[in-house]
Amino acid sequence: MEPQPLALKVLNIFSAVLLALATWLVFFYAPMELVMGQVQRIFYFHVANAWVGMLGFMVAAVAGIAYLRTHDLMWDIIEQAAVEISLVFFITTIVTGSIWAYPAWGTWWTWDPRLTTAAILEMIYIAYLMLRQGIEDPDRRARFGAVYTLIGGLSVPITFLSIRLFRTIHPALIGTASAASQGGFDMTPRMLHTFLFGLLTFSVIFVTLLWHRIRLGRLAGKVEQMKLEVMQW
């Protein structure tokens, strides 16, 4: 494997520092919330994870289209990396969400639009990884992966909108989803700072992880090519 470029090493340290700072901000800088108390602090990391997960989802969809147009396997590596990392970010989102939900709503899970869409998204990611696993030929694997991220990428927003036409109890962060949604958030300046810093932290972590995973993907590609060459002898 090629040695880590300096930028990546710096990024590793930067991510760790940001995460530590963000944690400090969440516990000591952000004020105590009136209604929910301490458990509300999860929201800073929970929402950041969700938004960055969505970013990963979009990166995957774009990379898929880029592969179909250019047939450069680099896009395929980026796409798979983005899907895997987004998968993890969404698992974190769901788990932190559940931890928040139990004291707040009295239940670990509810079938409201955002949660259901998150669950469906995870299923699509897993289906994507299973699809790739069943194909030997790198080009076919890349093509099918790209097609599936495209189909999945189109269907998820439609899924979200269609479930949103149902009632929701999930707090509407930006604007209200429907008349039936309870509880909006008004953030004081300190909360806003903490939230935005959390968002920045997780974006940086995402980029760092993506870079690492792309390096791993390139190494895997080289190994596979060597394997194919050996098998041809």
């Binding site: 396997l73 699509i124 299973m130 699809l131 069943g134 790198p138 080009d139 099918f144 599936y148 189109l154």
Partner: protein, 244 residues
């Protein structure tokens, strides 16, 4: 250290393709007719889909207490689950037959637009689904003493099936080329087809409960939008799925 650019190679088709609309439509109908004619003689696909659908309804009888009160709220859901599962069966068999007998390779060598193959297969898959639905509806009506001869319901079933088969044909073409084959199609298809399930069940339920069409327009519009988007995307992308 030299960085290598990884490149995929693929063969471009050496065959020129006629692109007149007449030949396109002829190709589509030829492919669709081939499947329908083959099915008329063997009836293996339809019989398995049908028997499966009836068994699913039977299982639902024990799984859910379909007494008269719950029946009205739950019928739409039961119907759509049945169609979804039977549809998967049909899609799998339809594409597997092409792959196993080498028909797909033959079709790819023919001087027709690749999307003609997609439309031909999609139309025949849709026809099979319609036939199964047309038989399941009266059977369900009789078994559960519910009148399902509702124009609105039939319209929803038509719209929903189109979207389901549009995506299903594309994904089945992919699934059949992998190691895991049949098992993979439901895993790929169901998460993506959820908007149809939601809208179709809501709209079907609404029609069965006698709601006005205007109230159900949201769901019907959703179905139409989904159908349009995914038929368009599927046929544009089909080329990438079958090229060698």
């Amino acid at each position: 250290m030299k960085s290598e650019k990884l490149h995929a190679t693929h063969d471009s088709s050496l065959v020129t393709r006629r692109s007149s609309p007449g030949s396109f439509l002829r190709a589509v109908s030829a492919i669709a007719w081939k499947d329908l004619a083959a099915e008329l003689r063997s009836r293996e696909l339809l019989s398995s889909m049908l028997v499966f659908a009836l068994l699913v309804i039977l299982i639902f009888n024990f799984a859910l207490e379909l007494d008269v009160k719950t029946r009205s709220t739950v019928t739409a859901g039961v119907l759509w689950v049945t169609f979804a599962f039977a549809g998967t069966l049909g899609l799998n068999r339809s594409m597997a037959v092409e792959k196993d007998r080498g028909c797909l390779d033959g079709l790819l060598l023919a001087p027709v637009d690749r999307s003609a193959i997609y439309f031909g297969k999609a139309i025949s898959n849709l026809a099979f689904m319609f036939i199964v639905e047309a038989i399941v509806l009266p059977v369900y009506s009789v078994l559960y003493n519910t009148n399902l001869f509702n124009l609105g319901l039939i319209g929803v079933i038509l719209l929903g099936s189109v979207g389901y088969v549009a995506v299903g044909t594309l994904l089945a073409s992919m699934a059949v080329q992998t190691r895991t084959r049949d098992v993979l199609l439901p895993i790929l298809l169901f998460p993506v087809v959820i908007p149809i399930m939601i809208a179709a069940v809501k709209a079907s339920s609404g029609f069965l409960q006698g709601l006005e069409t205007t109230e159900l327009m949201t769901w019907i519009n959703l179905l139409i939008v989904y159908d349009v988007i995914f038929v368009a995307v599927a046929f544009m992308v089909f080329d990438y799925v079958v090229e060698e």
